[in-house]
């Protein structure tokens, strides 16, 4: 699975996710990636793309929950990502990337590593795999 989240200079957020799914999956299986609110979500608050155990991400509506706790609980992006990873994934393993309309960027996962990278306008850039 691959994904990208962006907040542009106007503070507009967007998110996208694309995948081939699982190796040896059943024909017709649909995972979280195309499901708005599960694998992908964007609002005026943030953009989120998820990856990992699709069935767990679907149950958790993981991407939407990041935006929801920002909107309803007033959490900042880091707090929102930490909250959903810790409290919404049940026994599933997954990760996500997220940006906020304030130019923040956060990666979170409880799986064994996640291929990821991020950059911000102030010159910060990072590419990593493990925790």
């Amino acid at each position: 699975t691959v994904g990208c989240v962006v907040v542009d200079g106007k503070g507009h957020c967007a998110a996208g996710t694309s995948t081939g799914g699982l190796m040896n999956k059943m024909m017709g299986r649909i995972g979280d990636s195309p499901l708005i609110g599960a694998g992908t979500y964007a609002s005026e608050f943030c953009g989120v793309s998820c990856t990992g155990e699709g069935e767990a991400i679907i149950r958790a509506t993981l991407a939407r929950d990041v935006s929801a706790v920002m909107e309803y609980k007033g959490l900042n992006l880091q707090e929102a990502v930490d909250y959903v990873i810790k409290h919404r994934l049940d026994e599933g393993f997954a990760g996500l990337i997220a940006v906020s309309n304030k130019g923040e960027v956060v990666c979170g996962f409880n799986s064994n590593g996640m291929f990821r990278g991020c950059a911000t306008e102030d010159g910060f850039m990072e590419v990593a795999i493990w925790e």
């Binding site: 699975t1 691959v2 994904g3 990208c4 989240v5 962006v6 907040v7 542009d8 503070g11 507009h12 957020c13 967007a14 998110a15 996208g16 694309s18 995948t19 081939g20 799914g21 699982l22 190796m23 040896n24 999956k25 059943m26 024909m27 990636s33 195309p34 708005i36 979500y41 964007a42 609002s43 005026e44 608050f45 943030c46 953009g47 793309s49 990856t51 990992g52 069935e55 767990a56 599933g92 393993f93 997954a94 990337i97 940006v99 304030k102 960027v105 956060v106 799986s111 064994n112 291929f115 990821r116 990278g117 991020c118 950059a119 911000t120 306008e121 850039m125 590419v127 795999i129 493990w130």
Partner: protein, 194 residues
């Protein structure tokens, strides 16, 4: 406003024994995609356009599980899916069961921009793609030798592999059978994370 920001991912749940050269390849691809996005953002390209641009690049490279290099179904074919969302007006588009569209993320974008719907799947999505004139390729285009080997291992282990990026010389069967993890109420020996 705090300025622009971008993040990319290439999948979660990685074999801890992934060879160093494969890790380096992944980092190089992620860096290339980030730089592509950075250049676009510095040119004031909109967030939604940058998302599509970067994911197209990831889909075109066979390294990660999307587009060319996608994981294979039980029949050795590729069925892809993608979605995209613009937060400004909460507009979205999604596709599933894609077998011949070179860049599924762009088809999802077209569903958002050019259809009255949010989500198209299988033959309907493929018909829509042809009407929109997107680039079409044979299903074989998406199939890589690495993934054919991984599917063979998965079938031999009668499982869906825990990590599809474990090289064919790795212990895929052990990864599938030793894990106590359950997924959707079933042991990971049947399912596994993307």
């Amino acid at each position: 406003m705090g300025g622009w920001a971008i993040a990319v991912h290439g999948g979660a749940g990685i074999d801890p024994n992934l060879p160093a050269e494969r890790q380096e390849e992944a980092k190089q691809l992620l860096t290339r995609c980030l730089n592509l996005g950075i250049i676009a953002l510095r040119s004031n390209v909109s967030a939604i356009d940058v998302v599509e641009l970067v994911i197209r690049e990831l889909e075109t490279d066979p390294l990660f599980n999307s587009g060319r290099g996608s994981a294979l179904t039980e029949k050795g074919t590729v069925e892809m899916e993608a979605s995209i969302m613009d937060g400004t007006k909460r507009r979205c588009g999604a596709v599933s069961g894609i077998t011949t569209v070179k860049n599924p993320i762009s088809l999802a974008r077209l569903v958002m921009d050019k259809s009255p719907h949010s989500y198209l799947a299988f033959s309907g999505a493929e018909d829509f793609a042809r009407k929109q004139g997107v680039e079409i390729v044979d299903n074989e285009y998406f199939v890589t030798d690495d993934n054919v080997g991984m599917l063979k291992l998965a079938k031999e282990a009668n499982s869906i592999l825990f990590d599809y990026r474990i090289p064919p010389m790795g212990c895929a069967g052990a990864a599938a059978t030793d894990s106590p993890i359950q997924m959707n109420g079933l042991p990971i020996s049947i399912y596994a994370p993307e």
